[in-house]
């Protein structure tokens, strides 16, 4: 009886949600529960919904998401460590009609790529920068990153980050919002269905701004978990993120239409 009912429900006309075809069938190289997979998927869903598969060029970073081009079924180029905004600048200048985005982690964007990020944003390059912030170097084994919270334990700060000795965590999203070249800067997350929907809206808005020819960089930070680096199971890592990351990295729009949100 139950099987019959399920058979009745499971048919093409009752489909509500299916992984977009713009994500390839390759198994993601990320740890179980990592926010990277969701972030990849929502970008591809927006590109799919807007019918921009052939108009999109993505830049993969160095870090956990170095193989992003294996998972996103669009044209992609992988940049040298931290240089994704520089590469995106070149691509956008060559094909101004294309939608160009970079996908970078915090080690790539906020450490080695700080100069490229700040200068691309300051020049106001008409590109989208997607910044995944999990406060740690995930790929290399969970070392301290510039975005690591004060007091947070990592493999290179086993007693917690001591800001007197190791410096302060870097809020690079607030930093780029101050630059005149950025037009839309926001911070989102992908740990709950509501957060995923909001993050998707932010990405959609960024694409629309870039397509409409408004000049200025759009910057979407996605605060994510790193359950392997944080040494927590995925669901607990998400809770830890809500309790510890969000107070320091509050979610919401930081700059809209070139004006800082007070």
């Amino acid at each position: 009886m139950r099987d019959e009912m399920l058979k009745d429900i499971i048919s093409e006309e009752n489909l509500v949600y299916k992984k977009t075809d713009l994500m390839t069938d390759n198994v993601l190289s990320y740890c179980p529960g990592c926010g990277h997979g969701t972030a990849h998927r929502i970008i591809m869903e927006v590109v799919d919904e807007m019918g921009l598969q052939e108009e999109t060029i993505g830049i993969a970073p160095v870090g956990c998401s170095v193989l992003a081009y294996e998972f996103m079924n669009i044209d992609m180029q992988q940049a040298a460590h931290g240089r994704a905004p520089a590469l995106a600048t070149g691509i956008k200048k060559t094909w101004p009609e294309k939608f160009v985005f970079t996908y970078q982690g915090d080690g790539d964007l906020a450490a080695i790529g700080t100069a490229e990020t700040l200068h691309a944003c300051n020049r106001g390059e008409n590109i989208l920068i997607v910044f995944i912030n999990n406060g740690i170097y995930g790929m290399t084994g969970g070392q301290m990153a510039p975005t690591t919270l004060s007091g947070m334990k990592t493999s290179t700060t086993p007693f917690g980050r001591d800001t007197a000795l190791m410096g302060n965590p870097l809020k690079i999203t607030e930093l780029v919002a101050e630059l005149p070249g950025t037009q839309f800067v926001t911070r989102q997350a992908v740990h709950t269905p509501a957060a995923v929907r909001k993050a998707k809206k932010a990405i959609k808005k960024s694409i629309e701004l870039q397509r409409s020819g408004n000049s200025g960089t759009t910057f979407v930070e996605i605060v994510s978990n790193c359950n392997s680096g944080w040494k927590l199971p995925p669901v607990q890592a998400n809770k830890w993120m809500v309790e510890n990351m969000f107070p320091f990295y509050p979610l919401g729009d930081i700059k809209v239409n070139g004006e800082l949100v007070k």
Partner: protein, 76 residues
């Protein structure tokens, strides 16, 4: 009132057993299987299919995109 019934299909070979979908499900439909897939991960399955409302919350938060959701209105 028409009743809404949902169903999900999990791609068990790609599921990594992170349990984020279980946390996101409002009606406690999903659970982890006792069996493992070829990679050794326990996978998510519909332990309580009668409660599914097809809201797609599980699929939206699934990092690996392994969940497909169906929904049908039943006339009763």
């Amino acid at each position: 009132m028409a009743k809404v019934k949902g169903a999900v299909i999990v791609d068990t070979e790609r599921c990594k057993g992170c349990e984020v979908c279980i946390d996101a499900c409002p009606t406690d439909v999903l659970a982890m299987s006792k069996e493992v897939n070829s990679k050794g991960y326990h996978y998510s399955f519909m332990a309580n299919p009668d409660a599914c409302i097809g809201c797609a919350n599980c699929a939206i938060v699934c990092p690996d995109g392994v969940i497909t959701v169906y929904k049908k209105k039943l006339d009763q």
